[in-house]
C-alpha cells in the first residue's frame, strides 16, 4: 500500500530515496577525447580544421588540417601571363589586396629593374598603410569576438573598416578585390578629392582607436583570458619563420619596412612596436600600437605626396629575361614573398607565394599545448590567419 502511493501531490514521498554511492575515481577508465574543431567552426575564421586531443579540457595534441580552400593558385598563375595573376593575388588574403598587389608588383619590378615613379611609391605607401589599418582593426574585432564579446565591438570595427573600403572603392573601383597596382606603378591616379576624404578618415581614426582602447585594453576579461596564454619564445619564433606582428610581439625587432626599406619607407620616421612576453595580449597590443604608427606614416605620406606620373616605363608585354627573383614586403600578417622564375617567355616558369599565414601556423600546436580548449580559440585568433592565403 505504501509502495504504490509513493508520490502524492503535496505530500512527502514515503519511500526513502535510494542512496547513490559515489563511484570510486580509482580504476575508472579515462581516455583522451578527440575533437575535430572545424572546418565550420566559427572561431576558425574560414574553412580550417584543428584536430585536437583533449585530456579533460586540456589540449594534449593539436594538428592543423588545411586545404579546404585550395585551388592551386600557383599552377593557375603559371598558365597565364605575368600581369594576368595580378587580380588573382587579391584573392590570396582577401582583407589585404593592396599589399598583395604590391608584393607581386615589387617582385616583377625587381625582375626587369623597373623604376617606379615617386608619386606611385607614395600612393602605394598610403594604400598599404590603410590596408594595415583594415587588417588590424578586423583582427582586433574578431579577436574580442572570439573572447565572447559577441558582435558589438566587432561591428564598431566593421564600421571603421567600411570607411576605408569606401576609399579603396573610390580609387580602384572595388572594395576588396582592388587590383590597383601594376608592374611599374598604378593602374590609375587618385581621383579628384580623394586625398581630402582620406585625410578626414585618417584624422578621425585615432579618436576611434582611443575609444576602442578604453573599451578593451584594460578590460578584465581580456586581461585574464589573454595574459600568459600561448607564450611564444623569440628563439622558437625565429626558428619557425614567424613574421609580422606575431614575431614582434615576442620581442624580435624585425620589420621589413625598416630592414629592406622597400619603396620609400626609409623616408618615414616610425617606431616598431614590440612585445615583451609574447603572449596573446602582446600580440593584441602590438597590433593596436602598429595602427597608431600607421596613422603617422599616412599623415606624412599625404603631406609629402608629390605630383607626377603614376606609371613607370613598363613594357607593353611583360617578358622578363631568364632568371629568378624573390621579392618580399611587410604585409599586415607578416612577410609576404613572391618567388618568380622566368625562362624568358611571357609566362612565369615558376610562381610561388610565400604565405605568412601558413608559416605562422607552424607554432600553433606549441602555443596551445597545456592550455584549455577555450584558449586554443583565443590563440588561433591572435595568430591572424586568412584561409584564402593559407590554402591558396
Amino acid at each position: 500500500m505504501t509502495m504504490e502511493s509513493s508520490v502524492v501531490a503535496g505530500s512527502e514521498p514515503t519511500v526513502e530515496p535510494r542512496g547513490f554511492e559515489l563511484i570510486e575515481r580509482e580504476g575508472l577508465e579515462t581516455n583522451l577525447l578527440e575533437v575535430s574543431m572545424g572546418p565550420h567552426h566559427p572561431s576558425t575564421h574560414g574553412v580550417f580544421r584543428m584536430d585536437v586531443k583533449l585530456d579533460g579540457e586540456t589540449v594534449t595534441e593539436l594538428r592543423p588540417v588545411f586545404g579546404y580552400l585550395h585551388r592551386n593558385h600557383e599552377k593557375l598563375a603559371e598558365d597565364m601571363g605575368y600581369l594576368g595573376s595580378m587580380p588573382f593575388t587579391d584573392r590570396l588574403d582577401y582583407f589585404c589586396s593592396m599589399t598583395n598587389n604590391w608584393a607581386y608588383a615589387l617582385a616583377g619590378e625587381k625582375m626587369i629593374d623597373l623604376e617606379v615613379p615617386e608619386r606611385a611609391e607614395y600612393v602605394r605607401v598610403i594604400m598599404a598603410e590603410l590596408t594595415r589599418l583594415v587588417n588590424h582593426i578586423m583582427l582586433v574585432g574578431f579577436f574580442v569576438n572570439d573572447l565572447g564579446a559577441l558582435g558589438t565591438p566587432l561591428l564598431y570595427a566593421l564600421r571603421e573598416r567600411e570607411k576605408i573600403l569606401d576609399l579603396f572603392e573610390w580609387a580602384s573601383g572595388a572594395r576588396m578585390m582592388c587590383n590597383y597596382m601594376r608592374f611599374g606603378g598604378l593602374r590609375n591616379d587618385l581621383p579628384e578629392g580623394w586625398l581630402t576624404k582620406c585625410r578626414e578618415v585618417v584624422d578621425a581614426f585615432p579618436y576611434f582607436l582611443d575609444e576602442y582602447e578604453k573599451l578593451l585594453v584594460e578590460n578584465e576579461i581580456i586581461l585574464v583570458r589573454t595574459q600568459n596564454v600561448g607564450v611564444l619564445k623569440p628563439e622558437l619564433a625565429i626558428n619557425a619563420g614567424i613574421t609580422g606582428p606575431m614575431l614582434r610581439a615576442s620581442g624580435v625587432n624585425y620589420d621589413l619596412r625598416k630592414v629592406d626599406a622597400y619603396g620609400v619607407y626609409d623616408r618615414f620616421p616610425f617606431r616598431v612596436p614590440m612585445g615583451e612576453v609574447g603572449d596573446c595580449y602582446d600580440r593584441f597590443m602590438v597590433r593596436i600600437l602598429e595602427m597608431r604608427e600607421s596613422i603617422k606614416i599616412l599623415r606624412q605620406a599625404m603631406d609629402e605626396l608629390p605630383e607626377g606620373p603614376i606609371m613607370g616605363e613598363a613594357p607593353r608585354v611583360f617578358k622578363p629575361p631568364a632568371g629568378e627573383i624573390y621579392g618580399r614586403i611587410e604585409g599586415p600578417k607578416g612577410e609576404l614573398g613572391f618567388y618568380l622564375v622566368s625562362d624568358g617567355t611571357a609566362k612565369p616558369y615558376r610562381y610561388r607565394v610565400r604565405p605568412p599565414s601558413l608559416v605562422n601556423l607552424t607554432v600553433l600546436e606549441d602555443l596551445c599545448l597545456g592550455h584549455k580548449v577555450a584558449d586554443a580559440v583565443v590563440i588561433l585568433g591572435s595568430v591572424d590567419i586568412v584561409l584564402g592565403e593559407v590554402d591558396r
Binding site: F66, G67, H70, N72, E74, K75, L106, E109, K110, D113, L114, E115, V116, E118, E121, L236, I238, N239, A240, G241, I242, V252, Y254, V259, D260, A261, Y262, V264, A322, G323, E324, Y326, G327, R328, E335, G337, Y339, V341, Y349, R350, R352, R354, L358, V359, L361, T362, V363, D391, R392
Partner: protein, 202 residues
C-alpha cells in the same frame, strides 16, 4: 630610388668549407647535393660570418628534359648555336635571411637528378619553418623528404594520387568521378528500350 637594398652576402667562406658546392650562373644560388645539405645549412646558420637564422621560403621547381640552345664562340672565332641536352631534374629552393644580423638573401638549391623517384633531405631538424612548407612541396611535387617527422599531404586530400605542380601533370577528366551503379543501370536500361516504348503505346 632603389628597388631593394638587400645586403649582399659573401659566399666565399662557405665555398671554401664545402668545395663541392656550386654557384649557379645568373642567379647566384648555391647548389648542393641532398646528401650534403644538412651540413651546409648548419654551417650557414651557426657560422658567425653568416648567422642565417631565418629560413623564409621553401619551394620546389620541376624541370623536364629539354634541349637548351646557347650561343658560343667556336675555335675559329665564329659564334654558333650549340644544342645542349638538359637532363630532367628537380630543385628544392630555400631562401635564407639573417634576422639577428639583418643580412640576406642566400638562396640554396638541393638538386635532385633522379626525377622519377625524387628524394631530398629535410631541413626540419634545423628549421621548424620547413615543416609545413616541405610538406607542401611533398604534396604538390612528390619529393620525398628524408628526415621529416610528419610527411603527409598538406593541401590535397589524402586519397589524391598525383602531384599537380609537376610540369607533366595531366588533369583528370572528372575530379569527382566515383564508380556508381548508375552507369551500369543505364546500360541495362538500353536493352529494355524496345519494351519500354511498347509499354507507353498502350
Amino acid at each position: 630610388m632603389p628597388v631593394s637594398d638587400e645586403t649582399p652576402v659573401d659566399l666565399a667562406p662557405v665555398l671554401e668549407s664545402f668545395p663541392s658546392l656550386e654557384v649557379e650562373k645568373g642567379t647566384g644560388a648555391l647548389i648542393t647535393q641532398p646528401a650534403l645539405v644538412l651540413e651546409v645549412v648548419q654551417f650557414l646558420r651557426d657560422d658567425p660570418r653568416y648567422r642565417l637564422d631565418y629560413l623564409s621560403n621553401v619551394t620546389g621547381i620541376d624541370y623536364l628534359a629539354t634541349v637548351r640552345k646557347e650561343k658560343r664562340v667556336n675555335e675559329e672565332g665564329k659564334t654558333e648555336i650549340v644544342k645542349i641536352d638538359e637532363p630532367p631534374r628537380m630543385d628544392v629552393v630555400y631562401h635564407f635571411y639573417s634576422m639577428s644580423e639583418k643580412r640576406g638573401l642566400v638562396t640554396l638549391k638541393q638538386r635532385i637528378t633522379d626525377r622519377d623517384r625524387p628524394v631530398a633531405t629535410s631541413l626540419m631538424p634545423l628549421f621548424r619553418s620547413a615543416e609545413f612548407q616541405e610538406r607542401e612541396v611533398y604534396d604538390l611535387f612528390g619529393i620525398d623528404f628524408q628526415g621529416h617527422l610528419d610527411l603527409r599531404r598538406l593541401l590535397m586530400w589524402e586519397e589524391f594520387e598525383d602531384f599537380p605542380m609537376r610540369r607533366d601533370y595531366v588533369e583528370p577528366d572528372d575530379y569527382e568521378y566515383e564508380p556508381t551503379p548508375h552507369g551500369e543501370v543505364l546500360e541495362k536500361a538500353k536493352t529494355h528500350a524496345g519494351l519500354g516504348e511498347g509499354g507507353s503505346e498502350e
